[in-house]
Symmetry: C2
DNA sequence: TATTTGACTTGATGTGAATCAACGTTCGGT
DNA sequence: ACCGAACGTTGATTCACATCAAGTCAAATA
């Protein structure tokens, strides 16, 4: 196994362009493809993964309609996925943070139904799907993991559906913040202080709220001393309180 | 291939209990597992599928928390899937009609996150997952089909998310009716006249509306001569109009 | 047949978020 | 350093849907 240890930077400024990290040494490998693989299995996985140049803010990873050829693991940065609904509106369908995998929407018809756009400069691992399928044939665990990724996506979306159907603006925002908090802590980042990678507009679109309501809700949560917000910087002062709000408490 | 041709009845009253239909002769096989398989492949698939006794209205196919062992194809009748959200509310996550497959929610954690309940007397094909996995190893097409089923579930849910985030009560109801209409026609049933298998309460829960709003919206659509409703019986008088409403037109 | 029960409808009123509008702030480009 | 555009905040008003409340209807039970 090669010994390259260049860890991708979260900061835009010092982002390393010449990225060579093996899956074995990537600090995200417990999230991205957390399969207990033998060393040569990892090697095999490693060989098929391509690491591209960083994607800059606003650039597309792929567009709705593009042929489906690969799935993508976020290595650093953040992206949003969105579809154009029947009514012609953009709908943000998800935010993806380092260690998470996008692109599964393409499987149904061999065509992506979502577009994915970088929210900040991001580095991405491309995993060609036909190669992944081949390797999976020999590694049932990898196969299974892949199904689990999809299944998890389904259950997550069901939570969003419940959120949109039944919850107040406050509960929606609280849930989003808690979701990001949890995902940060699983990457050993702070669960109480972080930068939101997405705009208010994106948040509103994702949660089915107008930008004004998002803004007011942040203000309200801050006045209630549950969080502090300054622009994109959020700190959670009262997690328990936020969880109550997410559940719809007064 | 055996020649049993007992077709499951949609009607509750004459439902055949002693069901023996092979996948090869099932009239739903173009929807359920539309894989172009050789005859012996179908035979192989056929062997692993278990056909249970019919499930009566209100009975559970499985419950949230049950271990994941199988996926299920609806052969006749209809079921609803629901989760208990964090806030403790029931959330109907989907309705499943003949030819459609439920149970994919269990893959993420080897445990079902949804419960599935019969809306009317239904017969169900149980497809044990470990056997399916084995067979898939030898039949890449089946493997691929299965991934497509999941991917389709994801994209469908994204449409619901968009619906709940951005659309009026009218658009939501219109979309649901169109969805059922489309799915009916793919089973060669009428796309303009059908019985709703679910209650107003279920519809409201699914679409994030109160039962009163569901009722009033049906009434409004009827007054606008777009549909006719009598209890559970719906006929669509103006599909184009309904499509406009689903898109959010005035 | 009377009686309860659950599913649905219809009307009157209240409210949370959308809309409309104005203004402040940050950022990218020259 | 300046400018315009995009992003964000805050306030006043409106509106679609929720809530509250009564009542209808059909099937289930006794």
């Amino acid at each position: 196994m090669e010994n390259s240890q260049i860890i991708a930077q979260t900061s835009d400024k010092h982002c390393t362009h010449d990225i060579k990290v093996s899956c074995g040494s990537c600090r995200l490998n417990t999230i991205c493809m957390p399969v207990s693989l033998h060393i040569d299995d990892i090697d095999q996985l490693n060989k098929i993964i391509q690491r591209g140049r960083p994607l800059h803010k606003g650039e597309y990873l792929y567009r709705a309609g593009d042929p489906f050829t690969a799935v993508y693991a976020i290595r650093s940065g953040a992206v949003k996925a969105l579809t154009i609904s029947d009514s012609g509106n953009e709908q943000v369908t998800g935010f993806y943070l380092p260690g998470e995998v996008v692109g599964l929407d393409g499987l149904a018809n061999n065509t992506h139904t979502n577009s994915v756009i970088a929210l900040e400069t991001s580095s991405i691992c491309e995993i060609p799907f036909n190669r992944l399928e081949e390797v999976s044939m020999q590694l049932p665990k990898l196969q299974r993991h892949f199904l689990q990724l999809m299944s998890r996506e389904i259950t997550q979306e069901q939570q969003i559906i419940s959120l949109l159907g039944k919850s107040s603006a406050e509960a929606r925002i609280a849930s989003l913040l808690l979701s990001i908090s949890t995902r940060n802590s699983s990457r050993s980042l702070s669960s109480t202080q972080f930068l939101l990678p997405m705009s208010r507009t994106d948040i509103g679109n994702y949660l089915g709220l107008t930008i004004e309501t998002v803004s007011r809700t942040f203000a309200r949560l801050q006045k209630a001393r549950v969080i502090s917000v300054d622009k994109k910087e959020v700190s959670i002062n009262d997690i328990a309180g936020l969880q109550q709000l997410a559940k719809g408490a007064e």
